[in-house]
Symmetry: C2
Amino acid sequence: MLGSGTVAQTLSAKLAALGHDVMLGTRDVAALMSRTELGFGQREPFAVWSQKHPQIKAGTFAEAAAHGELLINATAGNGSLEALARAGEANLNGKVLLDVSNPLDFSQGFPPFLSVVNQDSLGEQLQRAFPQVRVVKSLNIVAAAVMVEPRSLADGDHHMFMCGDDAEAKAAIRDLLTEGFGWRHVVDLGGITAARNMEMYVPLWLNLMGVLGTPMFSIKLVQ
Amino acid sequence: MLGSGTVAQTLSAKLAALGHDVMLGTRDVAALMSRTELGFGQREPFAVWSQKHPQIKAGTFAEAAAHGELLINATAGNGSLEALARAGEANLNGKVLLDVSNPLDFSQGFPPFLSVVNQDSLGEQLQRAFPQVRVVKSLNIVAAAVMVEPRSLADGDHHMFMCGDDAEAKAAIRDLLTEGFGWRHVVDLGGITAARNMEMYVPLWLNLMGVLGTPMFSIKLVQ
């Protein structure tokens, strides 16, 4: 697991509960552990969360990447390329990387805008920068709690999308999402260029979160 | 009705069936009427369609705008600003303009990219260029046939969004969509800046149309 925020914590806890051996990667483990302030959305300090999840190890990006058979990028989008660079190609190449991040730029406040958009995407940037990594974009279009517990909404009768250039990697992610997390409907949008479409949906998602007053929602395709 | 393509035709026919007195506006009426080639998606020539809908008048953008109490922009997005300029402020000011267009650029083929995106939108451009027009963005996120017959999908149990700066104009559009077209769920996303979110969803919609093999779908918000 690359990243240590809410999404990384939520995914790590779920994966550990499913029996996976999870290591969470961050830039500076000591700095992360020593933080005492509350995080975004009054999130408890990492060390407090970590004590509740002793089975989840923490390490550097490189250690976590070396540890994992399946990698998940849950870093903030503006730090994803650097996180992968720190993880190192030797620890990444050949592996499946589930990219759940979004290229959100909060420098001008809320709502954020997209730092890469339209004819490119963060998913594509990651794939181009690490061509030997099998990038699959998914889960970036719902809140962390929905990612891992889709059945908490309408008994799971709503849709998740994914995309990527490697069919085998997409099959592995489909298994994780359906068998592991309980997603009932996972739609393959095609190659990694579809990441731009999944990322460009996120501003609408943020807008809807404000209107609905909750991040606990998802969309169902109706035909 | 500003525009003469599939969306304009579909909306015009529905509005006429509802009893509205519809005039469709185009740049050059004679040129439109004299076209004999099939349009996009094997659409019949306009003159053929027009003969089937004799109650729908055709005129210039200015004539149609002068005619209408409620205006709808159903031009191609790359021609919308010019169409409104041709319509003329005197014929537009003070009126509600439902903007259903999308800023799609097909110059590099399919899929198109967005010609305005992220920190601006076509809806905002129209509102800025014509500050006395009460712009409401809606319907741009589904196919024309779904715009006017939402109950054809899942008995209408799916969602439409709208946004705009004028509350009264949004109330009028909400009435048109619900009472007129049969939409059951219309979500107000806020001011016209939300048009960027609705427009940035369209590339995902186009992607899904390809995957599903049909434009006859919509999304339902699931909580």
